[in-house]
């Protein structure tokens, strides 16, 4: 545990190494990243095992002093972040292995692995942070990693726009977090988690202030986790290479918002208004993004909207008091969504398109990828006995138990949508016959298959960490942490899992009828509701609305001030300059050699000075 600081440092080392020597290492660059993350993974696993029933651990040093107060930096190990360490290092390691093959032949191969190292370092630093200032610093750095990797194909205008958008939109959220942290510092006198929790428990912070701060911190989480209304950057982030989407925009960074809410849970729990905000935003995001996912044609965008929707689920769970449920779903989602993205990458690798209307009949050609994708799809759809079934079930129970029945209905509906769009995707890609020729379609090689296989196993097994039948290992484990939470979920009404199963099966069945068996026409619904389907297909015109208001507004405002600067301020300046020039010219007329005039001016000046002295009483003191 004393060596936990090595966990983030190893990927950083890989980043620095590749930045300096990557060009010479070429394809061998991958091994630096793979080796570093493998070591980190082993250390993280050891740390997590040590946390099973062990004590929390914290090490810090002074970083900067503000007055008498010393701001420290260091690391902390508790059950929650030990779990996160394992998730992050594992997915990062698998993505490194996968990328070695996926990115082969790319000119900037080493740059890609360098950026992956930077991102992994930042993400691990984020979860190890013992105080909010450090969290904020790494929070921005993961944003940087995400930005660099979205813009990896820098020459593509779409990638450039997407990278910029991701940075700016998340930064809007970050400002909320920034203010929240500062206000909390002046209220609690510290950035440290434990001292903040102590101040909250002691009741030294007024409840209005707690609500305000909790909501500001949640704004940061909204930006990072792609929640409404700051979600639009995440689907665009799919411009990055697919392994990046799996690592950053599915499994780890976008879950950082959920992690932050979980880590700051005592703050949120102290304000029911804040909890309601979290639950409502999460619930609405879940259904909103799921509905968009129904209509998209790009395989990665469907998965991206699905990620937004699932992150909404996690927020809903946390806002409903389902601490374990939220963290549990974070973990299972990390595995099955990373699996789905990597499998999607394998498909894209084979057919060189992302448009699912151009795919079809790949079941027979991609004999390993296809079943693995199916596992992921079943898991996310909440098919019984797969991991997503258990975690989603807990979320539904927590929401129901919290008494917000409206949100419960939304969550069930979103579960139906999820099952439907996932199997729409599955049948369109793998079933039927190819809609067009893609040349020779071959299965991916070992380094790509292996990570998918590992994730496939986890996408099934991870669910058994916390079940009403075999035991609530995860809840017990987390209960050793700094966050006290009520035992939850396992004794909810029995009809909830049954309803969840029914909804999931119904979604799958409908997708089968429409896209598998083709008994129903693909567009029977969109034909009957053309305007609604257009709105959904265009993602509710959110991007267009932002463009018309915020983007144009800012540019217009800037232009307005630009004119003010150019004509008003500059005009005043030019006026001053001409005045001085005019005075200078007047002055120069006086020196035309006429002695009388010089004398007259001198006398006039003397008179003025004497008058001044007389008025001031002889001496200007």
């Amino acid at each position: 545990m004393q060596n936990a600081w090595l966990i983030p440092l190893l990927p950083l080392l890989s980043f620095i190494l590749l930045l300096l020597f990557g060009k010479k290492l070429k394809e061998a660059s991958a091994y630096a990243g793979i080796g570093a993350t493998l070591l980190s993974l082993m250390l993280a696993a050891a740390v997590m095992l040590g946390q099973w029933g062990g004590e929390s651990y914290k090490a810090e040093g002074v970083w900067l002093s503000i007055g008498k107060h010393a701001v420290t930096m260091g690391y902390e190990i508790n059950p929650l972040n030990a779990l996160m360490l394992v998730i992050v290092t594992l997915v990062s390691f698998l993505v490194h292995v996968y990328s070695k093959s996926y990115m082969r032949g790319d000119d900037r191969f080493h740059v890609f692995f360098a950026y992956l190292g930077l991102f992994t370092f930042a993400m691990l630093g984020l979860v190890l942070s013992p105080n909010l200032l450090q969290v904020y610093m790494f929070w921005e750095l993961v944003g940087l990693g995400s930005f660099l990797l979205i813009g990896y194909y820098y020459f593509k205008p779409e990638a450039k726009a997407a990278a910029k958008k991701a940075f700016i939109m998340t930064r809007i959220g970050d400002v909320g977090l920034f203010i929240g942290i500062i206000l909390l510092y002046w209220q609690a006198g510290s950035f440290e988690y434990d001292e903040i929790f102590k101040a909250i428990a002691d009741g030294t912070i007024s409840s209005d202030m707690i609500t305000l701060i909790a909501i500001l911190i949640f704004v940061g989480a909204v930006g990072k986790s792609g929640q409404l209304p700051l979600h639009t950057w995440l689907p665009d982030a799919m411009e990055g290479p697919t392994p990046v989407s799996a690592l950053i925009h599915a499994a780890t960074m976008v879950a950082a918002g959920v992690y932050l809410v979980a880590a700051m849970y005592p703050l949120f729990e102290a304000s029911s208004a804040a909890m309601t905000t979290v639950a409502v935003v999460g619930g609405i995001t879940a259904i909103f993004a799921a509905s968009i996912g129904l209509m998209q044609k790009d395989i990665k965008r469907v998965l991206a909207y699905s990620t937004v929707s699932q992150l909404g689920y996690m927020m809903l769970a946390l806002g409903s008091g389902g601490y374990t449920a939220g963290v549990f779903h974070l973990m299972t989602h990390a595995f099955f969504k990373a699996l789905l993205f990597l499998a999607a990458g394998s498909v894209i690798h084979a057919v060189h398109t992302q448009n699912i209307e151009e795919m079809g009949g790949l079941w027979r050609k991609l004999k390993i990828t296809a079943p693995l994708f199916l596992i992921g799809a079943l898991s996310i759809s909440g098919f019984p006995l797969f991991s997503g079934f258990f975690s989603k079930d807990e979320i539904l129970m927590a929401t129901y138990g919290d008494g917000r029945y409206g949100l419960f209905v939304l969550a069930v509906l979103a579960a139906f949508f999820t099952a439907f769009y996932m199997f729409r995707l599955f049948f369109m890609v793998f079933a039927g016959s190819p809609s067009q020729e893609h040349g020779k379609v071959g299965e991916s090689d070992g380094p790509m298959i292996l990570p998918m296989a590992v994730l496939g196993v986890l996408a099934v097994l991870a669910g058994y960490l916390n079940t009403p039948w075999f035991g609530t290992f995860l809840a017990d484990y987390l209960s050793h942490g700094p966050v006290r939470f009520a035992a939850e979920g396992e004794h909810g009404p029995i009809w909830i899992p049954i309803l969840a199963t029914a909804v999931s099966l119904a979604g799958i069945l409908l997708a089968y009828l429409m896209y598998g068996k083709k008994k129903l026409s693909r567009n029977w619904l969109s034909r009957s509701l053309p305007s609604l389907s257009t709105i959904v297909y265009r993602k509710y015109y959110v991007d267009e609305a932002y463009d018309a208001t915020v983007v144009r507004g800012t540019t217009g405002f800037s232009c307005l001030w630009s004119y003010v600067d150019r004509y008003l301020v500059e005009g005043a300046v030019n006026g001053t300059v001409s005045l001085i020039q005019w005075l200078g010219k007047r002055g120069s007329y006086m020196y035309d050699g006429q002695v009388q005039r010089i004398g007259a001016v001198a006398v006039a000046g003397l008179v003025i000075i004497l008058l001044f002295f007389a008025a001031a009483g002889g001496y200007f003191s």
């Binding site: 450039k160 930064r171 500059e570 300046v573 001496y619 003191s621």
Partner: protein
């Protein structure tokens, strides 16, 4: 008595002497002499900084020589009014002198692109450096004023002779504005001298903190402070007194802008801090709300305008306006966090803007343009330059791990304590900064690579040194700010003591 600071301040004279002996045709030798002439002060600055006692307070390495003294008729008694030659350093000025010396060396390297009249260029360059070092070393207002004036003249010629197309107008507007500032300063200093009888910083601060000292009533104090605010507000600059510096940023040669943006603007903030807050803490506190408002206006105005600029140099010019808003915000907070943030911002912005203008010089040398329209996909043709430019941009937008974050965070931390609403408005600047920086940097580095680009003409080794030194300093301060905050501690303690007393 130590002569170290005097030696440091006047050390550029050695380079000037060497230059004057060289033939004005010998380009290589002149450039080398210029560089060595700038290296010498840096060496001495490092020695001075090393012999500086970090934990001790007050003025160190002080030197005092009687210079001018005379009897005033009015007072009747035998009191002499005397002006001494006195220099020295406190924790802030030693850091600023070091920054001056370092940036001057790097700007001398950046001056390799100068195409003509190397001899007079480097002589002016070194006089400028002498002036800047003197401004920070001076321990009385008279010397401060003299050194302050010494910076104006070489700057005027450097802009007017070696600048871009519209250089002469820029030089005159520089001179007129700064001339007005100097005139105000002169009047203020004379008034203070006549009433307090001394120009020494320490003695002045002591007299001004004595209640009921004759002739220093509250109206007088307030008017002096406001006059200082205007005089240094021109230098900083505070909107709407900023137009001259936009011209200088755009028209002066990049190596001179490195110094202008990196050091000269900071003199405004140094003056506000040392004289404004140091001499008139109570009055400054009364004005704090207005200064905070001005700071937020600077921050937002600069940022909004930077968003719509089409020339890279103009983006950076407005960015400087915006970043100086952070200094005002930190000052207005009047607490340890805020003041520390403001001072960090001086140093951080000095390094970052020097880096970015150095890169503009590198780019202009190859493409002959700084218009954003003429750039696209630089990452393909010049990956190292593009990478450093991106890093510099990220530093400018306050990415944690780099110096800009520390200053931004501390300044806002300070202001939120005392004026949360104004501070909250100011945080909009954090988003806007990201918008304009990314817009400018990405339109240069990202996108399809221009075919006309000089592929294979990435940064040379000579160009890499300044770029990496500056970037390294930005990173070091960002990762371990404690290093810089230690020498500043005693200075802040003294100031804060004045605030409470």
């Amino acid at each position: 008595m130590s002569h170290l600071i005097s030696i440091l301040v006047f050390s550029p004279l050695a380079g000037i002497l060497a230059l004057s002996l060289l033939s004005s045709k010998n380009e290589r030798a002149l450039k080398l002499a210029g560089l060595l002439g700038a290296l010498l002060p840096m060496l001495i600055a490092v020695i001075a900084a090393a012999s500086f006692e970090r934990s001790a307070s007050g003025i160190q390495l002080a030197e005092q020589v009687n210079w001018i003294s005379y009897k005033m008729l009015k007072t009747g008694d035998a009191a002499y009014f005397s002006i001494r030659y006195e220099v020295g350093a406190n924790g802030l000025s030693i850091v600023l002198m070091l920054l001056t010396a370092v940036i001057s060396v790097l700007a001398a390297v950046g001056s390799w692109t100068v195409k003509r009249d190397w001899k007079s260029y480097f002589i002016f360059f070194l006089i400028l450096e002498l002036g800047m070092l003197g401004v920070f070393a001076a321990q009385n207002l008279f010397l401060f004023f003299i050194f302050f004036e010494i910076t104006l003249i070489p700057m005027f010629f450097l802009i007017g002779r070696w600048g871009y197309a519209d250089r002469e107008k820029a030089a005159y507007s520089f001179l007129i504005y700064n001339g007005i500032g100097s005139a105000i300063l002169l009047i203020v200093f004379v008034a203070l001298f006549m009433r307090a009888g001394t120009l020494n910083y320490g003695e002045l601060a002591k007299i001004l903190s004595t209640n009921g000292y004759p002739g220093l009533g509250s109206t007088f104090r307030m008017s002096v402070l406001i006059a200082l605010l205007v005089a240094f507000g021109i230098k900083l600059p505070i909107v709407p007194l900023h137009t001259w510096m936009l011209r200088v940023h755009v028209q002066a040669p990049p190596s001179i802008v490195m110094i202008h943006s990196g050091i000269l603007l900071k003199i405004g903030a140094y003056g506000l801090f040392t004289f404004g807050i140091g001499f008139f803490p109570a009055e400054f506190k009364q004005l704090a709300v207005w200064i905070a408002v001005l700071g937020v206006i600077n921050l937002l105005f600069g940022a909004f305008l930077a968003i719509v600029q089409t020339d890279l140099k103009k983006v950076l010019a407005y960015s400087s306006v915006s970043h100086m808003g952070i200094v005002l915000i930190g000052f207005a907070a009047m607490n340890e966090a805020g003041l520390k943030g403001a001072i960090f911002q001086l140093i951080s912005h000095g390094l970052i803007s020097a880096l970015l203008f150095f890169l503009i010089g590198v780019l202009y040398e190859r493409t002959g343009s700084s218009d954003l329209k003429d750039y696209s996909g630089l990452a393909g043709a010049m990956p190292v330059t593009a990478g450093v430019l991106l890093a510099g941009g990220l530093a400018s937008l306050g990415l944690p791990g780099m110096s800009g974050f520390i200053s931004e965070f501390l300044a806002f931390l300070g202001l939120f304590k005392v004026m949360p609403v104004i501070a909250a408005v100011g945080t909009l600047g954090i988003v806007l900064t990201a918008v304009y920086v990314l817009r400018a940097v990405l339109s240069v580095t990202f996108g399809p690579t221009r075919e006309s680009y000089p592929v294979g003409r990435d940064m040379t080794a000579r160009e890499k040194i300044p770029a990496f030194v500056l970037l390294g300093l930005v990173l070091v301060i960002g990762i371990y700010p404690g290093m810089l905050s230690e020498p500043l501690h005693t200075v802040l303690d003294t100031i804060l003591l004045g605030l409470r007393g």
